[in-house]
């Protein structure tokens, strides 16, 4: 079973700071997704990366897929309290490459 390891598990920062969270595996991914989950809600897709070395930007969020497609990072510039939430990476796993498996997530708190 492909294991997605996310770090750090918890992160508490002040508004305006920058941060990076990571998603790693020993396996090669065909694709990887990042979701954000707010309290009491289901996860919502932020981005899907497919190509090794790919960089995608979503306003203050920058997503990078490793060249070998085994790891990914999410960088947030000038974090705001609205960025608070659980950041989850997910990838297809299993022999059929068909089921969607999640990491345990990084719980981010941005203090005003």
């Amino acid at each position: 079973t492909q294991l997605l390891e996310q770090s750090p598990q918890f992160l508490s920062i002040q508004e305006g700071e920058n941060l990076t969270v990571y998603c790693n595996s020993s396996s090669v991914f065909s694709s990887l997704q990042w979701y954000r989950q707010e309290p009491g809600e289901g996860p919502v897709l932020l981005v899907t990366v497919v190509t090794g070395g790919e960089v995608k930007k979503l306003k203050r969020l920058t997503f990078q897929f490793g060249d070998a497609r085994k790891d990914s990072s999410l960088h947030i510039t000038a974090a705001q309290p609205g960025d608070t939430g659980l950041y989850l990476c997910a990838a297809p796993s299993g022999g059929s490459n068909y089921k969607l498996t999640f990491g345990k997530g990084t719980l981010l708190t941005v203090n005003p």
Binding site: Q6, F29, S30, S31, L32, Q33, G40, E41, G42, P43, V44, L45, T48, V50, L86, L88, A90, A91, P92, G94, S96, N97, Y98, K99, L100, T101, F102, G103, K104, G105, L107
Partner: protein, 115 residues
């Protein structure tokens, strides 16, 4: 476009009782997932349907959990009998297709507390 609907939002039961959760996916989505999310952790896939067939149920505790998807649309997840460790949020999601290329849309979940 209506999202994924789940009910109930909250449920409190005693251990050894049974409980059922309902999910109505987004219209036209062939793939339906049930995840279990324990507080502070990522979602754990319990079962995945493609239309009304099971794609994966390797992490479903089949001695107490069961799920069905009638006519490839709505789905129910049942726990019988419940244990204390089943306390979690049960998330239903749907997507046009399986895997990691298509977006999975999640419902708000059902928070189950077993006492």
């Amino acid at each position: 476009e209506a999202g994924v609907a789940q009910s109930p939002r909250y449920k409190i039961i005693e251990k050894r009782q049974s409980v059922a959760f309902w999910c109505n996916p987004i219209s036209g989505h062939a793939t339906l997932y049930w995840y279990q999310q324990i507080l502070g952790q990522g979602p754990k896939l319990l079962i995945q349907f493609q239309n009304n067939g099971v794609v994966d149920d390797s992490q479903l505790p089949k001695d107490r959990f069961s799920a069905e998807r009638l006519k490839g649309v709505d789905s129910t997840l049942k726990i019988q009998p419940a244990k204390l460790e089943d306390s979690a949020v049960y998330l239903c999601a749907s997507s046009l297709a399986g895997g990691g290329y298509t977006e999975a849309f999640f419902g708000q979940g059902t928070r189950l507390t077993v006492v």
